[in-house]
């Protein structure tokens, strides 16, 4: 009945973790999310896992997208997950990872709680659709 709240604005944090400096992918995703009507908070480069956790908690984002191209996902992503759990934020944050992730590692990350891993060549539309369909109901 009321006009408000019909379609909740999806908030995303697009984050670069660790030392890798390749942020083209993150920029492209941030822009695509913005054009899809999401609110995107971009972290900038070279964030430590606890910085990402702090931003995700304070901004209360629906989606946390981590872009990693350094190969350090095996250490960094678990630390982010740990941090989110500490604040009780893991359950209703949709965690997705983008970058070059080997298949074996992909399975491992998903085991840990990553909702999906998007590799090179993924259509932007695919990622946006995934977010729309899987964003957690938080009420």
């Amino acid at each position: 009945m009321s006009v408000e709240g019909e379609q909740r604005t999806i908030r995303c944090l697009v984050a670069k973790v660790g030392l890798d400096g390749h942020d083209r992918g993150a920029h492209v995703i941030a822009r695509a999310f913005r054009d899809a009507g999401f609110e995107v908070i971009y972290s900038g480069l070279h964030n430590a896992p606890d910085e990402i956790v702090q931003a995700a908690v304070q901004e209360d984002v629906d989606v946390l997208g981590i872009s990693i191209l350094s190969g350090a996902h095996g250490t960094l992503v678990p630390k982010v997950i740990e941090g989110l759990e500490e604040y009780g934020a893991m359950d209703d944050t949709l965690l997705i990872v983008g970058g070059v992730i080997p298949d074996d590692d992909k399975a491992e990350l998903e085991e840990l709680g990553v909702a999906e891993v998007f590799g090179p060549g993924t259509e932007l539309e695919t990622t946006i659709e995934f977010v729309r369909e899987n964003v957690r109901d938080r009420r």
Partner: protein, 381 residues
């Protein structure tokens, strides 16, 4: 506790047209308030989300938080894009933390009017205090919320205040009325300018000059900084001479004489001179290096003390609340009337009748309003 919170609904007596005000909360309001007051960051973050989304229940939430507010000092920072607002805010937060105070920041960025999407980038510049949870940074977009951004910002400030933040900073691009309304939520408003912005200074005349309690010339290590400071100072001087009442705010014209006579002596004194007039200071900073941040904080504190001493702090707060009440009532009545309009076949049908000369807009409005009028009259003692 208030006896009747705004959205309380007596069971089985749901009024016609379920408005936001009357809708059942979609979350556990009491638990959230309790957790927020207990200092849980996640609860604070979620409270602000509900406020932004206007999730049913947010009114009760804000209502319950209100009594716990009033202790924070609230500063608004505005200026053109690229003047260094986020960088300054970052350094201010750092300095406050060094002094042992906790900080809340609300950074407002524009949203696309077409998709509603936004990239909120202020956080990138706020690296100094990263890892310190006692600096709570929240990005908000100027989404096309009904009633507007200003209301949502004011409520988010309430949440930060109730949470116990000592200092709250609102940052926004000084681009339009919407943004000006936002910084007005603050007790003290600082306008950021960068050197060589001759045209900017011209632009300031229209609107922003009046709301500035403090000017900050950032990037003061660049050429032309002195000149910008000088231009601003001259402009402020001119403004005072032309219309002293604008500057005196709540004080009457009888004080004009006094303030004029000792203007000379007080040229370099920016703060209150005991003549009841606030002299807008111009402070120079190099925010990237943290230079001048002390002076900015001093200017903020001077202004707040001035407001407190002159009674204007309370005046400002009261006029803000008055405006808030009016806005809420307009919004709620609007929603109620929308429901009435729907009930009578919708606005299209009514407009068609008017077009066919079967009735006229005034009659339609009266017909819609009369039952409400009667109802109000009946319930009044």
């Amino acid at each position: 506790m208030t006896e009747k919170s705004a959205g309380e609904v007596e069971p089985g007596r749901e009024p016609p047209g379920s408005t936001v005000a009357t809708a059942e909360p979609e979350f556990d309001v009491d638990a959230l308030v309790e957790n927020l007051l207990a200092g849980e960051h996640r609860a604070l973050a979620r409270a602000i989300t509900y406020i932004e989304d206007r999730t049913p229940g947010y009114r009760q939430l804000v209502g319950e938080l209100h009594e716990h507010t009033g202790d924070a000092s609230v500063v608004g920072i505005t200026g053109s894009p690229g003047t260094g607002k986020s960088t300054l805010v970052d350094k201010l937060a750092l300095e406050y933390r060094d002094r042992g105070e906790t900080v809340g920041v609300i950074a407002v960025d524009p949203a696309s009017p077409f998709t509603g999407g936004a990239v909120l980038g202020d956080r990138i510049r706020m690296g100094s205090t990263v890892g310190d949870m006692d600096v709570f940074v929240r990005s908000m977009s100027a989404r096309g919320a009904l009633g507007g951004l200003a209301a949502a910002t004011a409520d988010a400030v309430r949440a930060l205040d109730a949470f116990g933040k000592d200092r709250i900073i609102i940052e926004t691009v000084g681009a339009g009325q919407n943004e000006i309304d936002v910084v007005r939520t603050a007790d003290t408003v600082a306008v950021l300018v960068q050197p060589g912005a001759g045209d900017d200074v011209q632009m300031l005349k229209a609107g922003i000059l009046e709301i500035a309690d403090c000017f900050v010339v950032n990037k003061a290590d660049l050429d032309g900084a002195n000149r910008t400071v000088q231009e601003l100072t001259e402009m402020l001087q001119l403004e005072r001479d032309v219309d002293p009442i604008v500057q005196t705010g709540h004080h009457g014209a009888e004080e004009v004489e006094d303030s004029r006579s000792d203007t000379e002596d007080n040229q370099d004194e920016a703060a209150d001179n005991g003549d009841g007039e606030w002299r807008t200071p111009v402070v120079e900073t190099v925010a990237t290096h943290g230079e001048g941040v002390d002076a900015v904080i001093e200017a903020f504190d001077d202004h707040r003390n001035f407001l407190a001493d002159s009674g204007a702090l309370a005046d400002r707060a009261r006029s803000r609340y008055a405006e808030e009440i009016r806005t809420l009532l307009r919004e709620d009545l609007g929603t109620l009337l929308e429901a009435e309009i729907e009930d009578r076949g919708g606005i299209e049908a009514l407009a068609r009748d008017v077009h066919r000369r079967e009735t006229n807009p005034y009659t339609v409005a009266d017909e819609l309003l009369d039952p409400i009028r009667d109802c109000v009259a009946e319930n009044r003692d």
